[in-house]
């Protein structure tokens, strides 16, 4: 009975929303978004604060935001404050998981014994994934990716070590320090912007030519910070989930 009621409620709600969106002349249909009416056209043209004649890959110098990847420009430059909040959410939930599940418990024993080949193979893979994670973090302003997936890749390389080695436990203390130092770096970067330019979190480095590795001012630095921070936070979450009480 309850299920039928819930089903009816959900169906009616869905129909109302869809009906409302169809009748809505302000709401563009799927595939017809009008960027000219939105702030994001300025993000693509890089003319939110200054005029410029156009953006050309590998040529345009010192744009207001120098990341070739516009999404990265928004995440780490135009709306960097959101990203600071996002890092905070991950920080507090990793701290919360540690608080809820408690420390210094024994880790779960695996059902199978990892053999020699598995150990060697996963160590090789560990190195490859770690490198990929770092690469993705550093190239966030040029290619898809960035600090968050990069950090998650770093964490998943740690996960691999967990699965391959029965005795392995990450050095929790080291992660904690890394997490804390990286967070403080982010704040200090913001405060440095406040000192130098008068705006919290403002980019105060040269943007360089669009599309080169050493461009986009603070963005690669921010993404390395985020990558390491996210990596250590998620690793500590995984470590806590792999622990259990008693034997």
């Amino acid at each position: 009975m309850k299920k039928v009621l819930a089903l009816v409620f959900v169906l009616v709600l869905g129909a109302l929303i869809m009906n409302h969106l169809n009748d809505n002349n302000l709401f563009a249909g799927f595939g017809d978004a009008m960027l000219e009416n939105r702030v994001s056209q300025s993000y693509i043209d890089r003319d939110a604060t200054e005029n410029n004649d156009g953006v050309v890959f590998d040529e345009s110098l010192d744009l207001e935001s120098g990341a070739a990847n516009t999404v990265t420009a928004i995440v780490a430059d135009y709306r960097s404050f959101d990203t600071l909040g996002e890092v905070t959410v991950l920080f507090i939930s990793s701290f919360g998981v540690a608080l809820l599940l408690g420390q210094s418990k024994k880790r779960i024993a695996l059902e199978f014994k990892p053999n020699f080949m598995l150990k060697i193979g996963s160590r090789a893979l560990f190195a490859v994934i770690l490198m990929t994670g770092v690469f993705v973090s550093i190239h966030g302003h040029l290619t898809p990716g960035g600090g968050f997936p990069g950090g998650a890749m770093i964490a998943s390389s740690m996960l691999l070590l967990y699965l391959a080695d029965d005795e392995f436990r990450a050095k929790m203390r080291g992660f904690k320090i890394l997490e804390s130092v990286m967070g403080v770096f982010y704040i200090i970067l913001g405060l440095a912007g406040l000192m130098i330019t008068g705006f919290f979190l403002e980019n105060f480095l040269d943007n360089g030519a669009l599309g080169t590795l050493f461009s986009a001012g603070m963005i690669p630095i921010v993404y390395i910070i985020i990558g390491l921070k996210v990596g250590s936070e998620i690793s500590s979450v995984i470590d806590h989930f792999l622990s259990e009480e008693g034997a």
Partner: protein
């Protein structure tokens, strides 16, 4: 038109997987369906030209979240048992 057909197929599969994840009796199967749902949403993101989101969802959404679910179930020794 190939893209359009692909969109329709992906949409239907998404809904099917969500339904399976919710209705499956075994928790571990539900988690696996959620993981494939998340993997399929990566395809949807790629179709909508969002490579950044696709990469993030692939690594974080379907990889890490699934492993967290599995570890929770592992720790409580409920894997494979019927609920």
């Amino acid at each position: 038109m190939l893209i359009n057909v692909l969109e329709i197929i992906v949409s239907i599969l998404l809904l099917l997987l969500a339904f399976l994840a919710l209705s499956s009796k075994s928790l571990i199967k539900s988690v696996m369906f959620l993981s494939s749902l998340s993997m399929l949403s990566v395809v949807a993101f790629v179709l909508m030209k969002a490579p950044d989101v696709a990469l993030t969802e692939a690594v974080i959404g379907s990889g890490l979240v699934t492993s967290l679910f599995v570890f929770t179930l592992l720790a409580t020794r409920k894997v494979g048992q019927k609920q």
